[in-house]
């Protein structure tokens, strides 16, 4: 009897997970899983908003049901992220889009899901060596280059800067590389003093800027490849804009105050909307067996927008239209 019940449970589990399939309403049903690096990194929440809005729009247009599963570790943990991805693959979701915390650790899990016939793509941060079908996100080398280029122009092509990163995530490493490459190729008078990592911790990011600025008067600029230090108040208290320039990735609402105060000269806005919206669109096409148009290496690059004090009002308006106030 117990064997029969066990077998029945296995059969039910195996069949109910198969997607896409018809829902109770008779419509085709899709269950797309999106896995950010962590549940607590707020920039991903904008992607979640976009994914849910796009799923609703697409479902209405194409007369189907689309469910978004949003799952991730609560702290950056590539092994846990890989485990979540494999569990979702075992549940036979219709597609998975993941922001890769560590490329090698996630490669095995991505390949496992693809071998099970589940379309997998990456967003924000890639695992290019894996069998993922596509990547949507910032061209991180270009992101680093744009930050470096703007800084070099601010300093007249000659100066010494610090770079602040968050962790060893592949996208952040690429941004730092982009900064170095830009200086090496276009601005030989510019140099990077050091690259500091704040472990994605806001307090530590703020302290690092204060401590290094105080200890090294040669610093003429800070390039923040992520906005940890400017996600709250008092992030750039120790910066004298007459002497030290700051450019930062991420142009979310908490960071706008630094453009207004003149402490930061440029925020580089990533296509956060696209993380969620393009994930849902591409996964649906993949699930339906349609071709997906990508660039070299399966990449689809999101737009990067330079936001300055002069363009902030227009950017705010565009932001409110997408994410609300």
């Amino acid at each position: 009897m117990m064997r029969f019940v066990g077998a029945l449970v296995l059969v039910v589990l195996a069949t109910t997970g198969c997607d896409p399939g018809p829902s109770a309403s008779g419509k085709k049903k899709y269950r797309f899983a999106l896995i950010p690096k962590t549940l607590t990194n707020e920039v991903f929440n904008y992607g979640k908003t976009a994914a849910e809005a796009t799923a609703k729009d697409l479902a209405a247009k194409e007369n189907c049901d689309i469910e978004i599963l949003w799952q991730a570790p609560t702290a950056a943990d590539p092994a846990k992220q890989a485990s979540i991805l494999q569990n979702l693959a075992d549940q036979k979701v219709s597609g998975i889009s993941v922001s890769v915390e560590e490329a090698n650790t996630l490669k095995g899990a991505i390949d496992y899901a693809v071998e099970k016939g589940i379309p997998v793509m990456t967003f924000d941060s890639d695992s290019a060596q894996s069998k993922r079908k596509a990547f949507f996100g910032t061209n991180d080398l270009e992101c680093g280059e744009k930050l470096a280029h703007f800084m070099a122009q601010l300093l007249g092509g000659k100066g010494k800067v610090m770079v602040q990163s968050g962790s060893e995530a592949p996208n952040l490493q690429d941004r730092v590389k982009g900064v170095r490459d830009c200086f090496a190729q276009h601005f030989p008078g510019m140099s990077v003093i050091d690259v500091v990592k704040c472990n994605d911790d806001q307090k530590k990011a703020v302290e690092q800027i204060a401590q290094y600025s105080q200890s090294n008067k040669e610093i003429q600029g800070w390039i923040l490849v992520g906005g940890w230090a400017v996600f709250g108040d008092h992030g750039l208290d120790t910066i004298d804009p007459a002497k030290v320039k700051v450019v930062s990735c991420d142009a979310v609402p908490q960071t706008w105050q630094y453009l207004q105060s003149g402490k930061c000269q440029m925020l580089l806005g990533q296509d956060l909307w696209g993380w969620g919206a393009q994930s849902v669109r591409i996964l649906k096409d993949l699930a339906d067996g349609k071709p997906v148009t990508t660039g070299p290496g399966g990449r689809v690059n999101g737009a990067l927008e330079e936001v300055t004090k002069d363009t902030l009002d227009a950017f705010k308006k565009q932001w409110a239209e997408r994410f609300g106030k």
Binding site: T38, L39, T40, N41, E42, N45, T74, A75, D194, V195, V196, K197, N199, D200, D201, Q202, K203, V206, E207, Q208, A210, Q211, Y212, Q214, S215, N216, K217, F231, G232, D233, H234, G235, T238, Q254
Partner: protein, 324 residues
């Protein structure tokens, strides 16, 4: 009498920590003058040092009392995060005025600490296990309250004071705890429980109740630290304070609070918090490369605590005697 008192002070662990802190401040000043031509001690960096170390310091007051009783609190960083989100939710979404919002948040933190204490005191769970559980539970509760960063406008005077003057909050909380531990019988009970729990029980002390109170106090302090940190940076979010429990415990260790219980003081824990912060600054001023700072930081903590233990055991005096 005076020389005896002086000798006694020299023998305290707090003196050791204070000496290390002063030495690091002087070293930082020399490095700053050499590298930048300006003084470190005469700049506003010292004020910032006190401000930035106060968040760990406030939480370390409660953690110190727990460690004195022979326990440990691994949930302090998560309670800081929970407090920041709770404050943000009840003050901005629910629209509570500042005083009840802060009181409610402190009550929430105290409640988490109390449950920890009941599990340890009455449930006989090892402190490591009980507080490890709440390390996750508190973070999960924060996430349930809000998965987004919520801005907390510092419109009220109370919010402004708590965000701006966290160093003085640390001093007030530290002084109150030090007085309770040193001058009240309840404080002596804490040392007795940490020194020998069985003996304390046979002496008629209500060990479980004392432990419950201590963990509740630690929850209160962690919540206060979380409130101060959230108001400092103007927002509450689930990730605030992640990993800080280790810094809080390290501050106590550097300040000479014994992990076998019954030995140490709040003053030591506060000095430990400031010393830890200063250590990070010193390494930067000494020009240690960014990727080697973590190694140097960890090594320096082991060295500082190790040297203090040796000094406390009079190893140096023994060496000197033998050398003579």
């Amino acid at each position: 009498m005076a020389p005896r008192m002086g000798l006694r002070f020299w023998k305290t662990r707090e003196f050791g920590t204070a000496s290390v802190l002063v030495a690091m401040l002087v070293a930082c000043d020399i490095a700053a003058r050499t590298r930048t031509g300006s003084s470190y001690l005469l700049s506003d960096s010292v004020l910032r040092l006190f401000q930035e170390s106060s968040f760990i310091g406030i939480a370390a007051v409660g953690a110190c009392a727990v460690i004195l009783s022979g326990g440990v609190d691994l949930s302090s960083g998560s309670v800081m995060g929970l407090a920041s989100v709770t404050l943000a939710v009840i003050s901005t979404r629910l629209g509570w005025p500042a005083v009840p919002a802060v009181a409610g948040t402190l009550a929430a933190g105290t409640l988490v600490g109390l449950v920890n204490g009941l599990l340890v005191g009455y449930g006989k769970l090892p402190p490591f296990i009980a507080t490890l559980g709440f390390y996750s539970i508190a973070r999960g509760l924060s996430f349930m309250l809000s998965d987004r960063r919520l801005s907390i406008p510092r419109e009220s005077a109370l919010f402004d004071v708590l965000g701006r003057y966290s160093f003085w909050t640390m001093i007030v909380v530290g002084a109150a705890a030090a007085v309770v531990l040193a001058r009240f019988s309840w404080g002596r009970y804490v040392y007795a429980v940490g020194g020998n729990e069985e003996a304390a029980r046979y002496s008629g002390l209500r060990v479980a109740a004392i432990k419950s109170g201590l963990y509740a106090g630690a929850g209160f302090c962690s919540a206060l630290a979380g409130i101060s940190l959230a108001l400092r940076y103007g927002s509450g979010y689930v990730d605030l304070g992640r990993g800080y429990e280790l810094q809080i415990i390290a501050a106590c260790a550097i300040g000479g609070v014994s992990f076998s219980g019954g030995e140490g003081s709040v003053l030591g824990a506060l000095l430990g918090a400031i010393t830890l912060q200063q250590l990070q600054t010193l390494l930067i001023f000494l020009g240690v490369e960014a990727d080697r700072i973590e190694i140097a930081y960890g090594s320096a903590i082991i060295l500082a605590v190790g040297l203090d233990m040796l000094r406390h055991k009079n190893v140096f005096s023994g060496w000197l005697r033998r050398a003579r």
